[in-house]
């Protein structure tokens, strides 16, 4: 199973590529939606990415700030799902 650090790196790489942001400008705890790094299309593309990359399909009830507000939050969510 992938370790949290590996998951974080993959998610970070995806978000940096998808948002055209400079890598150094996004921290793992940056609030990516709140700070305008990603928008609605970005959110939908993250959902698609974690399905494709980790085979994690969030249910509607799991689309929460707690699970998606930052790289850390998404990584922790993916890891929890992989462990369950």
């Amino acid at each position: 199973m992938e370790k949290l650090l590996q998951i974080q790196e993959k998610i970070r790489a995806f978000i940096v590529k998808a948002s055209y942001a400079e890598d150094g400008k996004i921290d793992n705890d940056t609030l990516i939606f709140e700070q305008g790094v990603m928008d609605s299309m970005g959110f939908m593309s993250i959902i698609g990415f974690i399905e494709e990359e980790f085979s994690v399909t969030p249910s509607g009830g799991e689309l929460t700030e707690e699970n998606f507000e930052s790289i850390d939050a998404i990584s922790n969510f993916v890891q929890r799902k992989l462990q369950s």
Partner: protein
């Protein structure tokens, strides 16, 4: 526009004090702009049977006279039959000539339905457009949070049984891109009739549609002039009543009339009842504290803060739709 700014913060604040004056102001300007700036001699209005296009047609008639206005009805195979009946009733009321152009053939030529249905089948393999209806909309569960909305797709079989899934981005984009052929084909047809008569195309979006980006670029966003683009939806209703738009149209729930399954505009895009949205939008624009807006609507300040963020996000992320081509 003369708003009741001396009143306490409530729905009353959006009421136009002198409706007659506002109707006269818009129609005078409409006449001047069409004849002196656009240098056209009449107006073509796409009429859907909804309150926005009905008010626009009525204002155009007041500005130019019914003999210089044409109402164009542009149904296609997914349109509600009701829409044509309401549009016809409106035209009769204002004594305006109508032309009906069914755009189903053009849309088939563009592959609108085929391209849309291909994407739907990738999400729901059992979907058959002959036996199922479909619609897309914003997932309501995302409304009470600061996250951007995600879209869902719903298919409805002949028994009325619904199935809903979160829409993957690739399929979402293909469904929207294919469906947008509808608004763009309508725009082409409106310009055909306008150019044939040396008339202007009068667009029908209200303030929310323009500023929140609820329109298709070069589709229903393509027009020469937009005379109700400054009006909140409740003001559209206020003016519509005043100018005599038929009551059945005023009482109708606004729909998208875009997907085969019935869908309100609130469900598809706005997420809030228009009375609530108007006041929240006004509060956001005028920097009124969420506490005060919440008090007027019987909602918490937190609810209003989330709504402010959501509206600001919509405004920001739809800027592209309102942009003119970047010229070098």
């Amino acid at each position: 526009m003369n708003l009741k700014n001396n009143k306490s913060f409530s729905q009353e604040i959006l009421k136009i004090e002198n409706v007659e004056e506002e109707v006269n102001r818009i129609s005078k300007r409409l006449k001047k702009d069409i004849t002196e700036i656009l240098k056209r001699k009449g107006a073509v209005v796409g009429i859907s049977g909804g309150v926005d296009s009905s008010l626009t047609l009525a204002l155009a008639v007041k500005a130019l006279g019914s003999e210089n206005v044409i109402g164009i009805m542009l149904p296609e195979k997914d349109s509600s039959g009701e829409s044509i009946a309401f549009a016809q009733k409106l035209a009769e009321k204002f004594n305006v000539q109508t032309i009906e152009e069914n755009i189903t053939g053009a849309l088939k030529g563009f592959g609108c339905y085929k391209r849309r249905d291909e994407a739907v089948v990738r999400v729901f393999p059992e979907y058959n457009p002959d036996t199922y209806k479909m619609k897309i909309g914003i997932d309501k569960r995302s409304l009470n949070q600061s996250l951007p909305p995600v879209f869902t797709i719903t298919i409805v079989n002949s028994n009325g049984t619904e199935k809903r899934k979160i829409l993957p981005i690739k399929e979402y984009l293909q469904i929207v891109a294919a469906s947008n052929f509808k608004q763009r084909s309508r725009m082409s047809m409106l310009y055909y009739h306008a150019e044939k008569l040396h008339y202007a195309v009068v667009g029908t979006p209200n303030k929310h549609e323009v500023e929140q980006g609820f329109f298709v670029k070069y589709g229903d966003g393509g027009a020469d002039i937009m005379p109700i683009a400054h009006l909140y939806k409740s003001q559209v209703y206020q003016l519509a009543e005043h100018v005599g738009v038929p009551n059945e149209i005023i009482k109708r729930t606004p729909t998208t009339d875009t997907y085969s399954a019935e869908q309100t505009q609130e469900e598809f895009f706005f997420q809030l009842p228009h009375q609530e949205m108007d006041l929240i939008w006004y509060g956001m624009e005028n920097k009124i504290s969420p506490d005060k807006v919440g008090e007027a609507l019987g909602k918490s300040a937190e609810y209003i803060e989330i709504a402010y963020k959501s509206l600001e996000r919509k405004k920001r992320t739809t800027e592209y739709l309102r942009m003119q081509p970047l010229k070098y």
